[in-house]
Every structure is written in structure tokens, then in C-alpha cells.
């Protein structure tokens, strides 16, 4: 009897799949194309690493939103609230444990950052659970109401942050060993940016493995494509909705911690300010596509960095120009997700 394993082995005889690599090439092509324009190799390396680090942080914030939109068809304009809450929750660890932050020990610094991230993700995950039940659930399928109520939710969250933490800016100190830069040749690579790249890549690889190697991940991908059919197969998609919303909110919280430390200053509007960028990223990537979101985040951040260096005035609109260009090329985004 032919086993499934041998069936899989026979696949080598099948025609090769057409993999859409053009979007994958955009990031290296863009980076290489900028090298002669920037002129100096060390400056180009610094700009590129800074862009990738920013892109990773934006990806952390945007990846949850793209899944929420793809699976639940929910336009969550309140996603930025989870970024803000995540960043402010981190202060509950980082400020009282100042000794660990200021210690010249990578172990203590990583521990305090880890604690801040875990707490922020727990709080934003639970907040996401409540947000879905109270605010989102009554407006499933009603896009206009979703926009209004989630924007309202974000305003309420910002004001609550003012009530709890006050209206003043809160300085957030980078742990000691994360400060400074590695100097390689004439290029300066900021340590914290490299950490952000590491954390972002970890999030991406984890999401990739979960979405491709687990049944829950396959259900999420299937649900993004056709939620009704997932239900007809016997799965309660509402539970998936709640799980994805909580995970997406927790990822936004993680992004908030990383972004807050990157900015080194917190205001309640930190999430609202990044929301537009996050929406640009998920539109460029293709709504519902995590891979597209990853590439979109890298492109947006790199373009912003290069434009900021080469033509600061253009930098103000560079993300919009990038989105328009991508949508003229691929109106559904870089990796459109098949919908019913």
C-alpha cells in the first residue's frame, strides 16, 4: 500500500510550484539601489540597519492587526491603544526596577526587559480579550461602526493612560548594556536596534511556524480565506477570533515596549501616532498576509530612513508614495490573501 510519506516523496516528480519572489526581492533591491545614492558605505549600513530595526518593530505592531482584519474582517482603528498600553505597562517594571536597568550586566538587563515584555503582553492580551467582547463583538460585519467605535476606544484608552500615569511625558531609560553602538569599520550599529531586529525576527519565525506547522495556525489561515467553511468543518471560529484578537493585541503590546524604548520617551499618543504607519504596512503587504506585512514593514521603514537622509522633505510623504506605488503595481497588496 502506498503510504502518505511515499506520496510526499513522489512530489519531486511534480512540476515546481511558482513562487512569487518579486516582493521578496524588493527589500534587497531597494537597499542595494540606495547604496550609490547614499554614497558612503558606512552611512548606508547604519541607515539600513536602522531601517530594518524600525521595520521589525512596526512589523510586531502590524502583524496582529493584519491577522485580525484578515480573519475577523474587523477594521480595528483602536489597535494603537494596545501599543500605548503595552509601552506604559512596561514602565511598571522598568521604573521600579531601575537598579536592574542601570546595572552593567547583560543578564539583569535582559531579565528586566523580558519581565517588562511579559507583563505588557499579558496586560494587552487580556485587554484585547475585553476589547473584543465589549467593543468589537456588537459590530461584527459593520465596518463603519467598527471604525467609529474602535477609534472611540482608542481615545478612551489614551485618556485612561492620562488618568493613571498622568499627562506628562515619561522618560524611558534603555538598559545600560543596550546603549551605544558596535563600531564595525566606519559603520555604527546601535545595539538596541540589533536587539530589535532579533526580537522581530523571532516573532516572524514563530508566527511562520505556528501558521504553517500547527493545526491552529492552519485554521487561522483557512479562516482568513473562508471563515464560514471553517465553521462547516466543525470548528468554532468565534474562539479563534478571540484567540487571534488576544494574540494580536499582545503583539501590539510587545511592539509598544520595543517602540517606547526606541523612542526613550512615552506619551499616551505613542500608539495613535504609529497607527497610520501600521495601516500603510498592512495595506502594502496585502490585508491578512503575515508575510506581506513583514515585507511591507521593512519597505516602509527603509524608505523612511533613506528618504530622511537623502531628501528630508520627501520623507514626510515617502510612506504614502510607497503605498501608492505598490498599489498601482499590485492593487491587492504584495501578497493578496484569497478570499471567498
Amino acid at each position: 500500500m502506498t503510504t502518505i510519506a511515499t506520496v510526499a516523496a513522489q512530489d519531486s516528480a511534480l512540476p515546481k510550484l511558482r513562487v512569487d519572489i518579486l516582493p521578496l526581492l524588493l527589500v534587497p533591491v531597494l537597499a542595494l539601489a540606495m547604496l550609490p545614492l547614499v554614497g558612503s558605505f558606512p552611512t548606508w549600513v547604519t541607515l539600513t540597519v536602522a531601517g530594518l530595526a524600525m521595520g521589525m518593530m512596526v512589523f510586531m505592531m502590524a502583524s496582529g492587526l493584519t491577522l485580525i482584519f484578515g480573519l475577523m474582517d474587523v477594521l480595528n482603528f483602536g489597535h494603537g491603544a494596545f501599543v500605548s498600553v503595552g509601552a506604559f505597562t512596561a514602565t511598571l517594571v522598568l521604573l521600579p526596577m531601575k537598579g536592574w536597568v542601570e546595572a552593567d550586566s547583560i543578564l539583569l538587563n535582559l531579565s528586566v526587559l523580558g519581565l517588562a515584555i511579559v507583563l505588557a503582553m499579558l496586560v494587552t492580551g487580556m485587554l484585547g480579550w475585553a476589547f473584543e467582547r465589549i467593543i468589537i463583538r456588537p459590530v461584527y460585519g459593520l465596518h463603519l461602526k467598527q471604525i467609529l467605535i474602535t477609534m472611540g476606544g482608542m481615545i478612551v484608552a489614551e485618556q485612561l493612560i492620562h488618568v493613571i500615569w498622568g499627562a506628562e511625558q515619561i522618560p524611558l531609560q534603555l538598559p545600560t548594556t543596550f546603549r551605544g553602538a558596535f563600531i564595525i569599520g566606519d559603520a555604527a550599529l546601535e545595539k538596541y536596534r540589533l536587539i530589535a531586529v532579533g526580537v522581530g525576527l523571532t516573532v516572524f519565525v514563530t508566527m511562520f511556524l505556528v501558521l504553517n506547522r500547527t493545526k491552529v495556525g492552519l485554521l487561522i489561515r483557512a479562516g482568513v480565506e473562508n471563515g464560514e467553511m471553517v465553521e462547516a468543518l466543525g470548528y468554532r471560529i468565534r474562539r479563534l477570533f478571540v484567540g487571534v484578537f488576544m494574540a494580536g493585541s499582545a503583539l501590539a503590546g510587545l511592539g509598544g515596549v520595543m517602540w517606547g524604548l526606541y523612542k526613550e520617551t512615552l506619551t499616551a499618543a505613542i500608539g495613535g501616532e504609529i497607527t497610520v504607519l501600521v495601516f500603510i504596512v498592512i495595506i502594502i503587504g496585502g490585508l491578512g498576509s503575515v508575510g506581506g506585512c513583514f515585507i511591507g514593514a521593512m519597505l516602509v521603514a527603509l524608505v523612511a530612513n533613506y528618504a530622511g537622509f537623502l531628501a528630508p522633505k520627501v520623507a514626510l510623504v515617502s510612506d504614502i508614495l510607497l503605498m501608492v506605488t505598490v498599489l498601482l503595481w499590485r492593487p491587492q497588496g504584495l501578497y493578496p490573501v484569497a478570499k471567498r
Binding site: 502506498t2 502518505i4 510550484l17 492552519l218 485554521l219 464560514e228 462547516a232 468543518l233 466543525g234 470548528y235
Partner: protein
């Protein structure tokens, strides 16, 4: 009379302001193929979706295997043993054939745990699935996608299959293959089959119900309808001769 597996009594379904099903009475006996015929817009697909809980009946009852499932949520109905193959097939095109079937195999936690003997049984009449096992389902042809959709419904034993227009848009050669597959399937499964292709269902059906205007206007044996051309004209506006 054989035992009834599914029974609809006076089922009304509204979609928005439209009153689609207007008192459907339908009985599906256990075993074999019951065919649901009718013109476009007669309410056939709505009937299947109402049974599946994708739209809920506003009046009437749907009983399955002795239990009332009228207002049950779709996942509960699926877990009770009803599988659904929609007209649009609704395969997950980003997932491979293997992953599509794995999701339908609710009882297993990993794709490697799927019942190999049952898969071989499926490959017996849908051989292409074996060949394209690890291909994304979206890259398959229309006929192959239909095979995935049906295979997904039978990857685990079910009590009832609801299949909506499986031959729609398929080439005649593929339809012949489908007939052979359904002949084999009906030996072990109970099927409620919605079709417009009368020559296809006349070769397969055991019993038949004809819908018009959101109601069942005729029910009986398929053999009786196949032989009675006047009845075909009256109910369907066609005869077997004109619809080959």
C-alpha cells in the same frame, strides 16, 4: 420504508427581507442518494445552508438522526455528522490538498495521523489528489478542486453529506468520473445532492425531491421521475432527451 436520517418540516428561511424557503418539507432516508432538483432560485442551496445552520430557519424544524438541529450552530451540526460541500467548493486555496483534508479530519492532531486506509479509499476514485497531495489547492483545476471539496467531506466517516451542484462548470469527461465516484460513495454514505444536471443525477439518485418557489412540489423515487417524461416537463420544464 427505510429509516429517516434527516427531516425538514415546514421550514421557512428569510435572508434579509427576502422570504426564500416558504415551508419546506423534505425527508432524507438513511443510505443512498436523495436528489434535490429545481430551477435557479428555487431554494435548493438555501435548503442546504439552512440544514447546515449557515442560515437559520425562521419557522419549522430540522431534525437530524432524531435530534432537533433547527437552531444549532454550524460547528455543532458538523460535529453531529453532517458534511457540506458548497456550490463554490470553498476549498482553502492557500493550503495544500493535504492541509485541506487534515483540517477536515477533526479527530487527528497531526496530518500524519490521518487514516491511511481511508485516504487510499479516497484516492481510489480521486487519484489526482494523490498526485497533487502537497500542492496548494488553489493551483488545481476546477475538477480537481471539486475532488478536494468532496474528499474533505468524506475524509472521516460522516452520517450525511450535503453536496451542492458538484458538476457545475466541469467538463463532460470529469463528470463521468464523478458519476463513478458517487456510485461508489453511495454504497457507504447518505447523500443529499443538489443538482441541475438531470442526466447526472438520474444515473445516481435513489429518491428525488423537486423544489419550486421555496417549497417542495414533488417527492418520490428517481426511477419514477426518470421514466415519466410528462412529469419531468411539468416539474422541471425539460426531459431527459433535451438535457443530455
Amino acid at each position: 420504508m427505510s429509516e429517516l436520517l434527516l427531516q425538514l418540516e415546514g421550514v421557512h428561511t428569510h435572508i434579509g427581507q427576502y422570504h426564500i424557503l416558504q415551508g419546506v418539507d423534505l425527508a432524507v432516508p438513511k443510505g443512498g442518494i436523495t436528489v434535490l432538483l429545481g430551477r435557479n432560485g428555487a431554494g435548493k442551496t438555501t435548503t442546504l445552508r439552512t440544514i447546515m445552520g449557515l442560515w437559520h430557519a425562521s419557522r419549522g424544524t430540522v431534525r437530524f438522526a432524531g435530534g432537533d438541529i433547527t437552531q444549532s450552530p454550524t460547528p455543532e451540526i458538523a460535529c453531529a455528522g453532517i458534511a457540506y460541500v458548497p456550490e463554490t467548493m470553498s476549498i482553502f486555496s492557500d493550503l495544500t490538498v493535504r492541509e485541506n483534508l487534515f483540517l477536515a479530519a477533526r479527530g487527528v492532531k497531526s496530518a500524519d495521523q490521518m487514516d491511511e486506509a481511508r485516504l487510499e479509499w479516497i484516492f481510489g476514485f480521486f487519484g489526482a489528489l494523490k498526485k497533487f497531495w502537497n500542492q496548494p489547492a488553489g493551483t488545481l483545476s476546477g475538477g480537481q478542486k471539486q475532488m478536494v471539496a468532496i474528499a474533505r467531506a468524506i475524509v472521516e466517516p460522516r452520517k450525511l453529506l450535503l453536496i451542492d451542484e458538484p458538476t457545475k462548470g466541469l467538463a463532460p469527461a470529469i463528470i463521468q468520473g464523478m458519476i463513478a465516484a458517487f456510485r461508489e460513495l453511495k454504497q457507504t454514505e447518505t447523500i443529499l445532492l443538489v443538482e441541475q444536471n438531470f442526466s447526472f443525477v438520474s444515473a445516481l439518485g435513489d429518491s428525488v425531491a423537486v423544489m419550486d418557489g421555496g417549497r417542495i412540489v414533488h417527492s418520490g423515487s428517481m426511477a419514477e421521475l426518470t421514466e415519466d417524461r410528462d412529469l419531468q416537463h411539468k416539474l422541471l420544464g425539460l426531459s431527459l432527451d433535451t438535457h443530455q
